[in-house]
Symmetry: C2
Subunit: 218 residues, 2 copies
């Protein structure tokens, strides 16, 4: 049996490992888990013991194939629940994350298969992140971040990098959501702020916003 805490550590290792170097260091993991480095060390040991993680003292941690499988399955559940909440229960995309953190730990293969079918086998969650299929395959869509976009080019909004409710509410306020058409008008060389036309409306966004918005060239 795998505990809830173990699942959360595995998920954190997966996410950190994804966006940076392969080997996840203890402090980064402790940060993500809101614990101290010593607690992270203990858990890493335990996960290595159970063959969910590869661990060499002072060298950081990676997931084994078994660990990755668990991580991907949790992510699949998380994202399917997010779709359910938004599509069926009138949640907005900034409300679903915390709740999905609870729901992702529900254990039932049939539940997740049926939910998937009930939702029509969605491929992306409400933030634009891909939903792994039953076999753990993740369909990768080529995407860039707004801060790397070119002037005078049209894009469509694919998703977000930062899914904090603050950021999502900022986007809501400016009427930007999945699929929104965004045209880059001008990039200010001084501070890298960007003038865009989003769904027809003119808007200037800072670099910190631009870094967290994923786009697809049209």
């Amino acid at each position: 049996m795998i505990t809830l805490t173990e699942e959360n550590y595995i998920k954190a290792i997966y996410h950190i490992g994804k966006q940076g170097r392969e080997n996840v260091n203890t402090n980064a993991l402790a940060d993500a888990m809101n614990t101290k480095a010593s607690s992270a060390t203990d858990m890493i040991r335990k996960l290595a013991e159970k063959d969910y993680a590869n661990y060499k003292k002072y060298k950081g941690v990676t997931l084994t194939e078994a660990g990755k499988k668990i991580a991907i399955n949790i992510i699949r559940k998380h994202r399917l629940w997010e779709v359910f909440l938004v599509e069926k229960l009138n949640f907005t995309w900034d409300e679903v994350h915390e709740l999905a953190e609870q729901l992702e730990h529900i254990k039932s293969q049939k539940l997740i298969d049926e939910l998937d079918a009930f939702l029509g086998h969605p491929t992306h969650d409400p933030h634009g992140d891909p939903i792994p299929d039953k076999n753990g395959e993740i369909t990768f869509v080529e995407k860039i971040v707004l801060s790397q976009a070119q002037e005078h080019q049209k894009y469509s909004c694919l998703g977000v990098n930062d899914s904090s409710s603050e950021f999502l509410q900022y986007l809501n306020k400016n009427n930007i959501s999945l699929g929104s058409i965004i045209e880059v008008l001008h990039i200010e060389p001084f501070d890298k702020s960007i003038n865009i036309k989003a769904n027809g409306k003119l808007l200037t966004v800072s670099q910190s916003v631009a870094k967290n918005l994923y786009l697809k060239k049209l």
Copy 2:
């Protein structure tokens, strides 16, 4: 904050208290929770400490109003999830209980309000048990058990007392479900077995079956 374990103890106290004397004894609680009496004593102490339970040494435990409120809310969530699983995700009534035991602990008021609305504010779960409303009100339906039924009388099936999957599968096999029309033909004085016509088909049921099937006189 209330822990998962505390919630489960509160629920168990509520259910045991419901079907028998008010004061729940330590052994009964330990049994229901699959723990030992000493563990139950510890938890009862803790619940009393937090004002969820009334406790006098050696005298058993009851819930306070706050405790009852929590219990009823968990039951509301449990039964709404059961409806969801059966109505929307193709589960059968014998498959849903364990899964609902997990789902009932998800914490989100909005989730449960929206789920309730999504399901059309159902009043009963798939086993015929009433679903408490948002204010904790439980609509009580007068029901008898098949073993107390009268000969030559027609009834409709309201629910079950024993919701083990063995019993539910027995009912499935004999095509008895919620709302089934059941006519009592003859009660055998020797062993109290009962000849019934269920959905048009003749069937003889033992007393232990008859004790666990709830009916409403038609």
